[in-house]
């Protein structure tokens, strides 16, 4: 008999493969905070910059996702860049212009912009 636990394990496996299908295993994953507080601080514009960059092919091999608020109010909007095998990089107080610089320097150039990093 198939139990609910069997079913949920199957669902989990399917969910993981769907996420991978969306490009989760890309070299870099970018998360943009999109809760009410983050949006109020300007994260929608930041998200748009990353979306455009991916759509126009300015950056390749990047997985972009929204996320809720981690709770770092005074440093919002926040953006994380995660690469396998490296320390996750968490940026704070990012605006559209800084997002463009993250794309240029970090995503394309591999250079972490230390001054915006949340320690």
């Amino acid at each position: 008999m198939v139990t609910p636990l069997d079913l949920i394990r199957k669902k989990r496996a399917e969910a993981v493969s769907r996420i991978i299908g969306k490009g989760y295993l890309a070299a870099k994953r970018v998360y943009v905070g999109m809760a009410t507080c983050e949006i109020a601080a300007g994260s929608k514009e930041v998200m748009e910059v990353f979306k455009q960059a991916i759509a126009k092919g300015i950056v390749k091999d990047v997985y972009l996702s929204q996320k809720g608020c981690a709770g770092r109010c005074n440093l919002e909007p926040t953006v994380e860049v995660i690469e396998t095998g490296k320390m996750p990089v968490r940026y704070g107080r990012i605006d559209a212009d800084k997002a463009r610089q993250i794309i240029e320097k970090h995503l394309k150039g591999g250079q972490v912009i230390e001054e915006w990093v949340i320690g």
Partner: protein
Amino acid sequence: MMEYAITICEGPTCIGRHADRLRAILLEELAKRGLKDHVRINISGCLGMCHKGPFLVVNPGYTIYGGVTESDIPVIVEEHIVKDRPIARLAVQEDHLFNRFYRIFGDVGFFGKQMRITLRNCGIIDPENIDDYLALRGYEALAKVLTEMTPQQVIAEVKQSGLRGRGGAGFPTGLKWELTAKQPGPEKYVICNADEGDPGAFMDRSAIEGDPHTILEGMIIGGYAIGSNHGIVYIRAEYPLAVRRLEIAIQQARQHNLLGKGILGTNFDFDIEIRLGAGAFVCGEETALIQSIEGARGMPRPRPPFPATSGLFGKPTLINNVETWANIPVIILEGAKWFSSIGTETSKGTKVFALAGCVVNTGLVEVPMGTTIRQVVYDIGGGIPGGKRLTAVQTGGPSGGCLPESYLDTPVDYESLAKAGSIMGSGGMIVMDETACMVDVARFFLEFTQSESCGKCTPCREGTKRMLEILERIVQGKGRPGDIERLERLGNMIKKASLCGLGQSAPNPVLSTIRHFRDEYQQHIEQKRCPAGVCKALLTYTITDACVGCGACKKVCPVGAISGTKKEKHVIDQAKCIRCGQCYTTCKFNAISRS
């Protein structure tokens, strides 16, 4: 050379096993090999893996080394740090639900010192995609319950966990479930109270916006445990994004057969709908909330009967707060025994606080019960900005109280906070520095509860109004002898005689500030002086000899109260001055005194 961050858990158990000694040895070892610049050491609070302590977490990669001894340290440094070869022999596999959060945020001081159970997914998953939740063992607790547990066993597990209501009152959750389950009849309701109304509080909003499925999963398990098929989330309309994400989550859960008929192939039916509140503070009170869902005016009614026996539409109703529901999947998957190992004797698990006010790191903080307020404000919050002095910490919003510096070592648990004159509340924590006037703070909160009082019972309706009038005249400089005693008498009367929690707690901000800051009240009343310089009517601005006659204050004064010739000392006409303070903030020479 790779960069690493090593987190050492220095929770009470790990300290008991000399984690601090390990840290010293590790630092020594790193220094000896010249690796100090490549490895960052973080100290975390309890990470809930006490049985494996002392342990280190090496990032990137999130390798957990458990039961670490002094002789293991050089091995870890040599193999893992120098050669980048994690040591399988020492690594422990701990697939806790909240590990993923620490994988991304664990080495940030602000987060590393917290313990994220209910907020475990907030900030790391896409809240609008059920796949992200499923991938992190989402709905596995529900499946486990449906596969291997009877409703009685679920209730026993919740009871054993020691979980208490996170809305503020702290009623044992398991007991509430048991009482509701015992009621006869097929028609019962499960409600999630998401009517978050405390000024400055945003725990529930963030939890729903960041991880809505956790709350749904908790509610479905609750429905199974008490024998209900109908869940309702009562949330205020002023949280549109939270509402939208809940709607999306419900839709996706239905598509996956996690809501609706025959959930996951069983014969258990359960569905959830959203009801929007108009934003009345009193509707957070359970009986008023139920009236509001029924379409009536949101007003409380006397209890008993409690909602457990006669709630929504007169049917047995299980009503819990957002944060309480978010704990349920964790308790089911990690076990009541593990959950009850966190916290204090009477308060188990963690509590989320919205840390705000005069503190360096404002934000959402989740800490184990028993953590002191000082740890939250200084270790996590980073202390008071601008070198200012802390005056008070306010917990529990308009129902809570202000605790002074001398009470900072009060542990966060239901009983300790109540004993200190405040309450746990739903999780507001406002830090105030020396620029806050305690009388004015009390007036602010009372003004809020007074206007939110529904007016049904006399003590709350009339009493809060009278108290507010007294406070208003005190801050106007018209306080009379005996006003403090009048406030105390009225306050105690309102607390005892009010119908619901709103009235019973409304005097708390006033009574607690009188208890801890009585001299501030006395100075306002007797000397007509506001020591913090907040109460406008009590302030006098004068220009001192430091004045160089630059004329900046004269220019900025909106009523032309300042006169003087250039390069000579200026004067403020006290009769014209409206005490707006613009000259005070404009003067570059500190030549304006405020007293």
